[in-house]
Subunit: 715 residues, 2 copies
């Protein structure tokens, strides 16, 4: 074997300048390609693979610092002739296992073909695969963002060191010698210690026989790194939490900081619901009750603590091994979680107490993880557009690409982000709760038994539908049996979208949203309801399998029109700010977005015209963004920088909001053409109906009032 | 008035680079001299005096940032012709009071001749006096270190700002706008906030009508500054604690961070005494009792908390206004105070858990000051030489001057520091408790009634003495009346030094410390005591005014010899390390040092030969060093750097210690000449006495054993 001619590069913190400086290499040196990153370079024969990876900025984990004991730096040689890269890669081009690696294999076991990159040396051209130990958790299969591989550069690093024993001739303290070892072996420059470790350091170093593993936190631009936890000997596990605190539900991932693997995911309902269903009622509760803020803070923190228990049990992880955590949430959840009074967010100017990213200890808010665990919250964009929207932005990355991307997150609140590499703008829009089934006569939350899909035959005006929990349409044999357990109990958000759109496509409602009473002559489904008309989706029945009668009233249609008009008007304002007439791509974030059919959303005019195959549901993008910020400090800096540059539109202050809102009351829109939608779906011909000629048609004045009312309800 | 042509320089943190850069000035510009610093420079007409001071690096306090509301930046014009400086200074050369300054004078009052330097502008040549508001506290008069003026550059700055109101168009958080204002007005670059402030910031900014004063902590080399406290409007007070935790007593100063004034000083006995009188018995207590460490930590923290109450009451200061604190102590006190098990310090290799400076929050150790208050501990030099010795070094500054300076701190432990600008070495020496009156037959602590001065007539061998609490010698009329309240109860450390030295000077003991029994024929004061002889200092009496019989036995003399020999041997080792035969200057630190007469200490050979007028008592130098570190961050860096370079001598490991110790048993020394002492004091002629010819003379072998025993007792 050829002796290594390169200086040994201690594994550094990927992203450190030091790690991406290439060592002097010769054109005749072996060529090494790392996958999946595709980074490549030439390295002298004898270079450890880990050092080559570090020099190229390829993140390969290492806890033991190249001592072949932690096993975190495993790689695989891809054999073959990679003509495209002009590399013939072979296991003969890597050094055979040395005594250290053999010992690791004997004691810990090494999967076939895997090598420890700290020990394996480059002997010839190689294609090296860096395996990503990601696991697709069963519970999160629908949330495709969770399957993505996130490049790791964690704010916490696990660093094993050997420390000099005490010496009377050089009487520096145990902690100080530990510090020197960490600085020397791992390249830290300014290292501090959490206070709680001071009384423990003696015992830990002696228990580890003068070896220890330090968890080191280094975030932000500061030059300071902090030792936040310490174990005797080699500690080879470290976990983090990524948590999205929604108004309705709280979702949490437990993630290995050393492999990126999602060890467990779980969710729970937000117990603050008992103080108020929507955000404004919770703010009111704080304003009306002296202990209201405290009560809600305690409630959400306790729920999160229970969730930690759940994910720890599921992932078989100890709380003490959780060292970092990232939380996102809308501004009111953000403030309540931090113990900040959200009252100011309840009225103009909707002043945030804190908008920037928050970096604290988990113990600051009483969250019991490892005693030194850190907590990071993404920045809030504005008083209505929170850290959850920031996380969605981070996840979808409009600022990382050139297309004009619209991101719509319809949760209990609707947030809209529009932009591309050049510029990103954001707003919240007062959609109200109609999309979630509230304020709809037959509406309900998405749960088994709820109608989620609807089709109406334009000839007969007869409907068919599907309910959550059954794979069958209502006109298929065996449908009733399949819903026996739940019955058909109501209509959920995605069902509401579809039925209103289908009623429009079938001509049951006009583009102004008026149920055409004249059709009652043609179909028993259209029935009078006082001065307006309703559509009977489903007759009632005494049997449990069938459930109550479900009708769509004129009021229901109006509620959906108000909600979608508000969302569309907000989107239009953002498009105007961007000076664009169209969007290239639409991402629906959140649970609601995962279940609605983009076509019907567009028929309704909830979103602007766009290629249908460029409209996609992106699942819990807020959770995905939190996980990115957990696994990579670079994403924290990226979103902090991006948020500082996002332009925030306060819809209530924009004079044109009214006008857009009124036009958007129509299906899909009074003035905007939907050419791409029209090409894919046969829209009814535009009728010219006199403003006051049709019963129930909203006059411009009335629409305007409704717009005001809708906004008041959300502010 | 000429319009100011210079850019307004916001008052920065003195010592910041920005503040010492000179603005472009012309040779014809007015010349301004600041006193007492002596710094001078030319400034364009119209420059505010405060800005000129900043540019020269002259520390002038300012909380309000130049708004003429805090009144902290007062200066005085010195009128006259200062020929030496070629300056004719006159009140005509400074701008008259403007409306802001007049308003301040009307509302708050301005002492005669005082001006606000933020408002007063330079119109011509000036000599400007920057007053130092130091107060000499009655209780600390004997501790002359406390009267020194310490240049201020505190780790805590009080910074008043005006904050933009919330704005929907620019929806950054209250905290974030506060941060921007602080960075803009005060030049901070990387500003973070203590977590506890997050829920409070809304209320504070609104209460202050969008003005606030932030206490900002910036220490160490990091670029990070932290807001640790926040008040609505202008907060114009801030205090700090400087505390020396001695084994026996705890001393504390309460100091204004804004003026340097000592607001109060107090002391209390260390309640750990109930666990053991000396340090080693306390370590034993920890080793023997499972809750011993915890008990002693609680005891010392509670005592310190009570002391805080005392100084707060005395200084009329609220705990909440205390923002910083500096603590020093020997290694065992240092560890116990921080909650660290000191057991390792009880035996070789005397391993410190932490030797570097400790920077934590006061709340980390449960000390209730302002919630954000900081705590700084000076570094420890070695396992036997603690943060108290570092503070003494900082106070006396051997490293700041050229003379070979010896610092001796004889407390319950004796620490020795020797050096100059080129090199500093340090050690601890096993003196034992004899200097404090323990292990001496008639010994007692320094308290009223204790003999502190002794003279022996060399002809008659009759003594006279003075006791603490009386100004009279025992042979003066009225002496008995003057000691009526206390009696004459024993002999304290300084008295022991004097009587043994006087016995030597009178020929009662030989240079080897043997009481000459033949003198019993000449004087009834010399009496047989078994196989050895004693000297009767005072006959006993039944009356309270007179008290018990006090004799100096051969064993007493031996105890003093052992103690002084240990101290001298340690000093000799340091002198050898420094390659020097003599010292230029000797500083006695600590209470013991304040009361002994240097001449007698030298006659005894407790300290090496030196000009007597260069031997001085420096009082509680540890407390003075703590106060320096409290008032000036630069001193923290200075002592951290100095300690890292101090060479530590472990006396137990030095082969020559034994030899030095044996020679040092003699008075003043068996081999070292004391030429300077001899010139000032008539020493008895050197007798050549055969080693075994005199009853009670110690053989070399026996001395050697005693040396061992003495060291064991102190380790």
């Amino acid at each position: 074997m050829v002796a290594a001619a390169v200086a040994v590069v201690r594994p550094g913190w990927a992203g450190d300048k030091r790690a991406i400086v290439n060592s002097p290499a010769n054109i005749t040196d072996p060529l090494v390609l790392f996958m999946p990153s595709g980074k490549r370079g030439r390295f002298p024969v004898g270079t450890p693979v880990l050092d080559a990876a570090r020099q190229l900025g390829v993140y390969v984990e290492s806890v033991c610092g190249g001592r072949a004991t932690c096993g975190r730096c495993q790689v695989e040689v891809q054999e073959g002739n990679f003509a495209k890269h002009k590399i013939v890669s072979s296991n003969d081009h890597i050094s055979p296992k040395g005594p250290k690696e053999e010992r690791y294999e004997r004691v810990r076991g090494l999967p076939e073909r895997r090598r420890l990159s700290c020990s394996a040396q480059i002997l010839g051209d190689l294609v090296i695969d860096v395996p990503q130990d990601t696991v697709i958790n069963a519970q999160t299969i629908r949330k495709d963002a969770d399957t993505r591989v996130i490049a790791r550069d964690t704010a916490i690093r696990m660093c094993y060191v050997e420390i000099e024993e005490p010496d009377m001739h050089n009487p520096s303290g145990d902690l100080d010698r530990l510090k020197i070892a960490l600085m020397k072996d791992w390249g830290f420059k300014n290292l501090e210690f959490d206070f709680y470790l001071l009384p423990q350091v003696q015992g830990i170093l002696r228990k580890g026989n003068w070896t220890a593993t330090a968890a080191i936190h280094k975030d932000a631009d500061s030059d300071i790194a902090r030792v936040i936890a310490l174990w005797p000997g080699l500690k080879n596990e470290a976990y983090g939490l990524a948590c999205d605190i929604g108004s309705t539900t709280i979702a949490m991932h437990l993630v290995s900081l050393l492999s990126g693997r999602v060890a467990a995911s779980s969710g729970t309902s937000n117990p603050q619901i008992r103080f108020g269903e929507d955000l404004m009622s919770r703010v009111s509760y704080v304003m009306m009750n002296p202990d209201g803020r405290e009560g809600m803070t305690v409630a959400v923190r306790e729920a999160i603590s229970s969730l930690v228990d759940k994910v720890c049990a599921e992932g078989n992880v100890q709380r003490n091994d959780i060292l970092d955590s990232v939380f996102v949430g809308n501004p009111i959840m953000h403030h309540l979680f931090l113990g900040i009074d959200p009252t100011e967010l309840g009225g103009a100017p909707f002043a945030l107490a804190v908008s920037g990213a928050v970096r604290i200890k988990a113990s600051d808010i009483g969250l019991k993880l490892n005693q030194g665990a850190r907590l990071y919250m993404l920045p809030c964009i504005a008083g209505h557009v929170g850290a959850d929207a920031a996380a969605v932005t981070l996840s979808e990355g409009p600022h990382r690409q050139d297309e004009m991307m619209l991101i719509v997150d319809v949760g209990t609140n609707a947030e809209i982000v529009l932009g591309n590499r050049a510029r990103v703008v954001a707003a919240s829009s007062p959609t109200g709760p109609a999309f979630e089934g509230a304020e709809i006569s037959g509406g309900q939350r998405a749960a088994p038994g709820a109608i989620e899909r609807v089709r109406i035959d334009p000839e007969t005006l007869e409907p068919k539908y599907r309910v959550i929990g059954s794979e069958l349409w209502s006109d298929e044999p065996g449908f009733l049996d399949s819903v026996q357990a739940t019955g058909v109990t109501g209509i959920c958000g995605s069902g509401i979208i579809e039925i209103v759109a289908e009623m429009y496509l079938a001509g049951i409602i006009s583009e102004d949203g008026v149920v055409d009473g004249s059709l009652s002559a043609r179909s028993p489904r259209v029935v009078a309801n006082g001065r307006t008309f309703s559509y009977v989706l489903k007759e009632g029945s005494a049997s449990k399998e069938d459930g109550p009668k479900i009708t769509i009233t004129q009021t229901d249609v109006r509620a959906i029109q108000l909600a979608k008009a508000a969302l569309y008007a907000g989107t239009k304002l953002l498009m105007e700010k961007q000076n664009t007439e169209h969007v290239d791509r639409i991402h629906f974030a959140g649970a609601f977005g995962s279940f609605i059919d983009p076509k019907y959303a567009m028929v309704l005019g909830l979103i602007p015209d766009c290629d249908l195959d460029k409209v996609s549901a992106v699942g819990n993008a807020a959770g995905a963004g939190a996980r990115m910020a957990l696994l990579n400090r670079g994403y924290r800096r990226e979103i902090e920088e991006t948020v500082s540059q996002i332009e925030k539109i306060e819809t209530a202050l924009e004079p044109k909001f009214q006008e857009h809102f009124v036009y958007a009351m129509a299906l899909p829109n009074k003035v905007d053409p939907f050419p791409k939608l029209s090409a894919a779906v046969k829209l009814p011909p535009r009728k010219t109906v006199s403003e006051d000629g049709v019963a129930g048609a909203a006059t411009p004045r009335r629409r305007s009032r409704e717009g005001h009312a809708a906004r008041r309800g959300r502010e």
